[in-house]
Symmetry: C2
Subunit: 307 residues, 2 copies
């Protein structure tokens, strides 16, 4: 079975949306990526760090989905990374109420021996130096390295981000971040410029407006599924990335044509993630539901004009 290595935060999230609020629940990039990727027939491991306050239930939840957490370090006496956010009425914008890095501040990822030959590496949003250290630990060049990042690192660690970007294959960022990173307003121009910085593939996430995949002069668009209700957008981008990376790992095919399918899988899984608070929907999600919604994606996008 092919291997996907996931590196990213594991967190407590406290979320408030117009539909309700949660106490501290399971959050962070790695669980969203991992739970999403767990819907594929692959071996998955998470490299991350939590504090002693991290409940066994959450560890069990990940293990139950066949995610290898032997490299999820538990720091004795430490506290788990905590994030709290308040979504506005349109769910497209949010205020961060709290960010307590705690044990994540000193995170030194250690790639387990049995994943140093992972086929695909998914680097969740973290300090670029941490992302870089993971790449350096790989014994075999992965078939594909996917990196997620955010505007915060463009502001505070741009040289380090640019350095790690030279070593990766795919970058996933949102539209505003693509504009900031490239200095170009047009997403076509932005993606072209970002490709000169290293990654051969650029995925631009536009939230409810879908996602664009760029490679050379090729471009593909995956819409977000129009939903009656978006309950909690937290983790949608990571769920998308997990679906993308998971599908590529399973299929062993990094052609642009197959990446189109990966982007659709990512959008598909993300469309479930936002239906409930946190990771709840991803845990209950069945293969039948995934398949049924893939059919919806076909109906949503496929047409038969003869040219």
């Amino acid at each position: 079975m092919n291997k996907l290595l996931i590196v990213g935060s594991v967190a407590f999230d406290a979320i408030e949306t117009p539909f309700g609020k949660t106490d501290k629940i399971l959050g962070g990039a790695a669980p969203y990526i991992g739970l999403s990727a767990s819907h594929f027939d692959i071996q998955t491991a998470i490299v991350s760090v939590v504090g002693e306050d991290f409940p066994q239930d959450y560890l069990d939840l990940l293990t139950a989905r066949n995610i290898d957490i032997s490299a999820l370090e538990i720091v004795k006496g430490g506290k788990t990374f905590f994030w709290s956010g308040l979504y506005h009425n349109d769910l497209n914008s949010r205020d961060t109420l709290a960010t307590e890095l705690n044990v994540l501040g000193d995170f030194q990822p250690k790639v387990p021996e049995n994943f140093k030959d992972a086929d695909v590496v998914m680097l969740g949003n973290l300090h670029p130096l941490v992302q870089n250290s993971v790449i350096d630990q790989m014994a075999v060049q992965p078939k594909l390295i996917v990196l997620d990042t955010m505007n915060f690192w463009m502001d505070c660690a741009l040289p380090e981000l640019l350095a790690v970007m030279k070593k990766i294959d795919v970058i996933t960022i949102n539209d505003e971040e693509a504009r900031q990173l490239s200095g170009e307003y047009s997403l076509v121009k932005a993606a072209a410029k970002i490709q000169t910085m290293g990654p051969k593939y650029v995925v631009i996430k536009k939230g409810e407006h879908g996602a664009l995949l760029f490679h050379n002069t090729e471009v593909f668009f995956a819409p977000a599924l129009p939903l009656e209700e978006v309950f909690d957008p937290t983790g949608a981008g990571d769920t998308f990335a997990g679906g993308f990376a998971g599908f590529i790992t399973q299929s062993e095919n990094i052609s642009f044509e197959n990446m189109k399918n990966a982007v659709i899988y990512g959008s598909n899984l993300a469309s479930f993630s936002v239906e409930k608070f946190g990771t709840e929907r991803m845990v209950s999600l069945t293969q039948e539901e995934v398949k049924a919604r893939l059919k919806q994606f076909k109906l949503l996008t496929q047409f038969d004009i003869e040219i």
Copy 2:
């Protein structure tokens, strides 16, 4: 040949974008709709009104594209409707600098005898009473009536708008207008509610984020083609509507499956319209260019996941 009747404003537009500005050029909904629809093998007529200041060149331009302008009234001593707008840097928002209704203020549309049996009627954005009077003049029930409107009429003539909506088949509005008209934030819920008001099909235009087509529980999404540069978005929505209506008129098929193709044709033609100021690009556009870009739309959206 099937007939498409177009009713809408004919105007002088003065446009300023970050890329330049124009003096008074040909504008208004009807020319954009008509030039877009002129790319299909159909008979097209425009019902509208202009002043004596309207140049023969613009009339010739429409006639050269086989658009019947015998019902384009020219008011002696009157002045043509004038609109002036300034686009912001992102081209997604604009300020209206001037709106001088002039002869459009007293417009009484007269449907020509030979188009009272039109297969499709495209009602461009006008006062709902004017749109209604066109429907009342039809001798034969059209196969499809498409209506475009805007928030202005929701604010100032809502009862009249709701009345004409009961007589139409397809409404095209943008996302904010769909939310205003329905009181629902979710576009899925908004489209469902708008369908209870009359139109069986709801097209929600999202500008650079594409367009959604709703009918009962079915939904289809046409992306906007990602462009290196959008030069002037004026008339993109009308060009979209003209492509939609023109394709339906030509194909005589109002199934949901065929409407998907119509929405793609609309997006395709709109992607050209924004490449130059005003109607310039639509006038020079060739069938070969349209076909080549349809292929781009296929590459942009089609995937081959086996389910």
